[in-house]
């Protein structure tokens, strides 16, 4: 598509990116016990800059097979995130405050505003909550529920705002210790995005990984 900026507004895909960036920077050994939400958030919070590899699969009713991309996610400081796709093609997206740019090799960079859809604003703010380790901010925007134990936890986020919920049904973040492993976004239009992070992203994958493979990786039980 030739540099069209304007309508790329309510892009739901960013959230995972964001979230992940926020959460990602951690590649760290597990600490003992964290059953409480606040405890988990405190451990997830990380200073910038940091980066982590990722593998992301996008599932859609339009697609016969998932679109899989791999690359690096970077947290560059407050409000600054970057997502670089290295395979199967090159693309770099950056988020700086309110503005996002997507640049693909051989095409002019496309610039657009995160906030063309109001729900983005809320979501971005909320993920800031995740990064900052502040449970109160998150709870203003999401219904949160935490399952599992320190070795395998699962944090569910359901948007409270019905407008946001019209685009994103829920988000699930799983991981162990202070290390998030996978972030799954369930969109209202039946698309699903599974984002594998760090160690999960480094795992060898088959030539044509299917949904089952991604879900297994996400759960990380059979590590």
């Amino acid at each position: 598509m030739t540099g069209s900026t304007s309508m790329i507004s309510g892009n739901n895909r960013l959230l995972p990116t964001l979230a992940l960036l926020l959460l990602a920077p951690l590649a760290w050994c597990a600490a003992p016990e964290r059953q409480t939400l606040q405890g988990l958030l405190t451990d997830l919070a990380r200073p910038a800059p940091s980066s982590t590899p990722f593998v992301e699969a996008h599932f859609s009713p339009l697609l016969a097979r998932p679109l899989v991309v791999a690359g690096t996610l970077e947290y560059l400081g407050p409000g600054k995130l970057a997502r670089t796709v290295q395979a199967p093609y090159h693309e770099r997206s950056e988020i700086d405050g309110d503005e996002a740019t997507v640049a693909r090799a051989g095409e002019p960079a496309r610039r657009f505003s995160l906030a063309r859809a109001p729900q983005m604003q809320t979501l971005v703010a909320s993920f800031a909550g995740l990064l900052s380790g502040n449970a109160a901010t998150l709870e203003r925007n999401f219904t949160l529920d935490l399952h599992g134990d320190a070795s395998h936890w699962l944090l569910g986020l359901v948007p409270l705002n019905p407008q946001v919920r019209a685009a994103i049904r829920s988000i699930a973040v799983s991981g162990s210790g202070s290390q998030p492993r996978c972030l799954t976004t369930f969109q209202a239009n039946d698309d699903t995005t599974i984002l594998l992070l760090d160690r999960a992203a480094r795992a060898p994958r088959p030539a044509a990984p299917d949904r089952a493979w991604f879900e297994t990786q996400c759960q990380g039980r059979n590590r």
Partner: protein
């Protein structure tokens, strides 16, 4: 009093009948008169098609209807939220036609227009919908789906895998967009959110503009995120509201000050409340008669005509003053009126003739003003002669004996005869007129209703930030049909795009940008493949992509529909948001069509001229609105000057016919002529460029000078009568100075220029009449 009872009863009957007549006329005016706020009445009457276009473009064109809105005083987030809410509220208000704040609203494209995307997008000019093109596009769509942009694009893919609708929307976007923050337009510093609003009403209708701006403020108050957010509205419409508001406020204050001042002055001069009340009667009668006349002749009268007209016929307060001051003790009002009537009649006739000049000016507002003043002045004069004397008690006081008049008479008698005064003053004035630098005439249309400088700067800054069209340059493209204009514009667009690339202009806008010509649309439609062919290409293109076969059925259906579509025309756009964009750039006038091409930031005017000259058959023409309107004003002034010259000649003839002596005529007219020349010299030397309102004021000052000259000259050889005349002229001149000094202190430059000019005229005429109208030395004053 001393009046006999029957006479008194007669007087009462006359007073009752008079006031009754005034009330009747007043009632007529009240029920019939419609006030207009349309400032175009004071613009020249267009005589050619181009002139009409220019005036319409200046006063009612799309650029003039734009209001630029800035929201400041808070952070990005609350400002952007306020901008979005405000824009949504304005879009649902029929007072506004277009609202833009940077948000791109896909939903504003009606579903019926969607299949037209293949006829509107330039893609098919250089591509074919074949397997290789589709495969490239589908691969790009896969990457889009896996990118942060997927959320919004995905719903469109089955219907529009080549994203044609995006390409169409992009081509409609302004070429130079303001900075986007939080999804809406912001200024360069990022501290104010910007919006452009087009009002349905033209800029030069201050009343409708006020309604629009009030509505805008109301929506703003409802939309703003915090009370700290401030709203700034600028643009021609906002200016006309500001000017209207200020001129009303100034007029109210001036009216109050003048009335109070006149009451005090009249009481001091005549020491009789009855005379003060009677003195107002001719003026009121003249005013009502003037209103009734313009009501009967025009029906709709401009508010400025009335405000300005009342100022000008205020001169008629002089008539009862002449009558009162000249009424010697024991003389009845009727006798006094009869005695001064020959002189008063010339004064009235002279002033009326001066105003008749404006009938020939070709400016509708001035024609109304002329009728208003001729009717008002003539009625006030006749009322002073025939009605007022019947109500006036017999004279009991010799106003010629008033201390001030006496002192002035002594001063006058003792002043040296300065025979050299006239020639020297005339020579000095001519020298100043010739030697002082600077333009003599004000040709800038914008200066006629001048806006404070700070507001203009604010306007200019915002216009630049928003990339709003340049208000000075405009290209017109003529054609017999709308489609011919569109085709010619398409022809020009290559040249315009290269001018953008070279930086000669930073953008342009024309109807063809939104609506291609029928032949272009037909060519693109012919390039659309048949359904079976497209299906085969698509199947081939899908090979090797992740897309599920069959998801693009809606695309196949839309293309099949587009192959059957008749080209989109202006008529078929009715009811869509595009109708407004295209309609304001494509105008039908008397069976012919004119397309307007507007520019942003014209930096190379010659390049535009060369481009226009290269158009087929001279269809395109670059118009410099500033230059064109200046030419119009200059032409208009030539007509006004000719009519003023004709009026001056007529005036000399009337005075000569009445006085029957070249010497006396010269004596009466010389002070007035010299004063006029001297005012012109002073204004020019002070660097003031003259405008229409200066001319009107000069005529008014000359009318006053004529009064002074005639009455002075009348009592040249009658010392006692001369003192009464001096008393009358003192009261008249003081009254006029007072009224126009109030105007001179107005905040509005137009009113200020009138006030200053007339005050100079009153002082000059009074002093020069005093100094120059003297008894001949060889003929000593009659005993």
């Amino acid at each position: 009093m001393r009046c006999a009872p029957p006479a008194a009863r007669f007087g009462v009957a006359i007073a009752v009948a008079w006031i009754g007549l005034l009330l009747l006329l007043g009632g007529y005016v009240f029920t019939r008169l419609r006030l207009s706020g349309d400032l175009r009445l004071f613009l020249p009457t267009p005589r050619t098609r181009t002139e009409r276009l220019i005036l319409e473009e200046v006063s009612a064109g799309p650029a003039s209807r734009l209001l630029m809105v800035a929201l400041g005083g808070a952070g990005t987030e609350p400002l952007a939220g306020t901008s979005r809410r405000l824009a949504a509220a304005l879009r649902s208000d029929s007072t506004f036609r277009l609202v833009a704040n940077g948000e791109n609203l896909l939903s504003t494209i009606p579903d019926t227009l969607l299949p037209y995307r293949y006829l509107l997008s330039p893609t098919l000019d250089h591509e074919r919908l074949d397997a290789s093109f589709l495969h490239r596009e589908l691969t790009a769509r896969e990457q889009d789906l896996a990118s942060p942009a997927s959320g919004l694009l995905e719903p469109w893919l089955p219907r529009d895998p080549t994203l044609e609708i995006l390409k169409v929307l992009e081509s409609w976007e302004p070429q130079r967009e303001p900075r986007l923050l939080d999804g809406v337009w912001f200024n360069g510093r990022g501290d104010a959110a910007l919006l452009i609003v087009e009002t349905a009403a033209p800029a030069f209708d201050p009343r409708a503009q006020r309604v629009a701006i009030d509505a805008l403020r109301r929506h703003f108050l409802a939309a703003r995120a915090t009370p700290a957010i401030r709203l700034t509205v600028t643009g021609p419409g906002a200016f006309s509201v500001l000017m209207q508001h200020r001129s009303e406020a100034d007029a109210r204050l001036a009216g109050f000050l003048d009335t109070a001042g006149m009451l005090v002055l009249m009481l001091l001069a005549y020491r009789s409340p009855l005379r003060v009340a009677l003195g107002a009667l001719p003026l009121v009668t003249g005013g009502v008669a003037a209103l009734a006349t313009v009501t009967a002749l025009f029906g709709t009268v401009h508010g400025i005509t009335i405000a300005f007209g009342f100022t000008l016929i205020g001169v008629a307060i002089d008539y009862p003053i002449f009558l009162f001051s000249h009424q010697a003790p024991g003389v009845t009002g009727a006798a006094a009126a009869q005695a001064i009537w020959p002189t008063l009649a010339i004064a009235v006739a002279g002033l009326a003739i001066a105003y008749l000049a404006f009938l020939l000016s070709g400016v509708p507002g001035l024609i109304q003003l002329a009728c208003f003043n001729v009717a008002g002045v003539a009625t006030a004069g006749l009322a002073t002669r025939y009605l007022l004397p019947r109500l006036l008690p017999t004279g009991s006081r010799d106003f010629g004996r008033a201390a001030l008049a006496g002192r002035l008479a002594a001063l006058w008698a003792g002043a040296p005869r300065m025979v050299w005064l006239g020639p020297v003053l005339a020579a000095a004035s001519v020298a100043a007129l010739v030697l002082a630098p600077g333009p003599f005439w004000q040709n800038d249309l914008g200066q006629l209703t001048p806006v404070p400088q700070a507001r203009l700067i604010q306007y200019d800054t915002l216009r630049r930030e928003l990339g709003a069209p340049d208000v000075r340059y405009l290209m017109t493209v003529a054609g017999a049909t709308a489609d011919q204009v569109l085709a010619e514009e398409e022809h020009l667009s290559g040249g315009l795009q290269s001018l953008v690339a070279r930086g000669s202009i930073s953008g342009f806008d024309d109807a063809a940008r939104y609506l291609p010509s029928a032949s272009t649309q037909e060519r693109r439609r012919a390039a659309l493949p048949e359904e079976s062919e497209l299906r085969a290409s698509l199947d081939q293109a899908l090979r090797g992509t992740a897309f599920r076969p069959g998801v693009f059925e809606p695309f196949l259906k839309d293309v099949a529909r587009a192959r059957q579509l008749p080209p989109l025309t202006l008529a078929r756009l009715a009811g869509t948001p595009l109708e407004l964009s295209v309609g304001s750039l494509l105008l039908a006038r008397g069976g012919r069509w004119t397309g307007l091409v507007t520019f942003a930031d014209v930096r190379d005017r010659e390049a535009l001229e060369r481009l226009a000259a290269s158009s087929g058959g001279g269809a395109a023409q670059l118009i410099d609105l500033k230059e064109a309107s200046e030419n119009l004003i200059a032409q208009q002034r030539v007509r006004i000057l000719w009519s003023v010259a004709a009026a001056a000649a007529l005036l000399v003839a009337v005075v000569y016919a009445a006085l029957r002596s070249p010497l006396r005529t010269l004596r009466v007219l010389a002070p007035m002529a010299l004063t006029t020349l001297a005012i012109l010299a002073v204004l020019h030397a002070a660097g003031v460029a003259l405008n229409l309102f200066h001319l009107v004021s000069l005529v008014l000052a000359a009318g006053l000078g004529l009064d002074y000259g005639l009455f002075y000259e009348r009592t040249l050889h009658d010392p006692r009568g001369r003192r009464r005349t001096l008393h009358a002229l003192l009261v008249c001149a003081t009254a006029a100075c007072m009224v126009f000094a109030v105007l001179a202190s107005s905040t509005l430059p137009v009113l200020r220029s009138i006030g200053v000019t007339v005050v100079m005229g009153v002082v000059g005429n009074f002093a020069l009449a005093l100094l120059m109208i003297r008894p001949d030395p060889e003929r000593p004053a009659a005993s």
